[in-house]
Symmetry: C2
Subunit: 106 residues, 2 copies
């Protein structure tokens, strides 16, 4: 997983909207997705290219249409690498903070 590409791809509301749209109905065409976006088709294509580069979606050509499918694997890897690791700290946060404030930084 390329964490940089994945997080940058997720760091834009249009691209998150695209993922939500595909979550509602997988396999939509570019035209269908654009109907929900309020921007030029060409702009949407650029967003989709970034999602593809991050491997968050896959596309298939069918005739003159381009179908789009979600790939949830990178999101799972984000979870493994960036969520689980820091969740373990969750309970100890207040403890650490209190210690530091008390100057007890052994």
């Amino acid at each position: 997983m390329d964490a940089d590409k994945v997080f940058k791809a997720l760091g834009d509301p249009t691209r998150r909207r695209l993922l939500d749209l595909l979550c509602e109905k997988n396999g939509q065409t570019l035209g269908q997705l654009c109907e929900n976006l309020d921007m030029a088709r060409q702009s949407a294509t650029q967003h989709i290219d970034l999602l593809e580069a991050a491997n968050l979606i896959s596309t298939v050509k069918r005739g003159r249409e381009k179908l789009h499918f979600i790939n949830p694997v990178p999101l799972h890897e984000v979870y493994e690498r960036w969520v689980r690791k820091f969740e373990r700290q969750r309970l100890s946060l207040l403890h650490d903070l209190k210690q530091e404030l008390e100057g007890d930084d052994q």
Copy 2:
């Protein structure tokens, strides 16, 4: 949670490094963090400001020092909103794809 701020904050290698550094040792000062960064202190401060705005870290002043603590809550919310939702699709992806390729789009 402001998903935009959180994902944009995570979409930069320096800021992810800062989170990793704080995961190794919570409560570090700005100076300590900068020793591991290879950029001007002022640049690091700007990265930290974004992490704070995304609520991914909290800071406390102790004398002339500024201590930094990880806040894992937004990461957990990212998981709830952006990982679990799409994980459910995981098993059905190949199914959807096959159906579309066969033109069986009922």
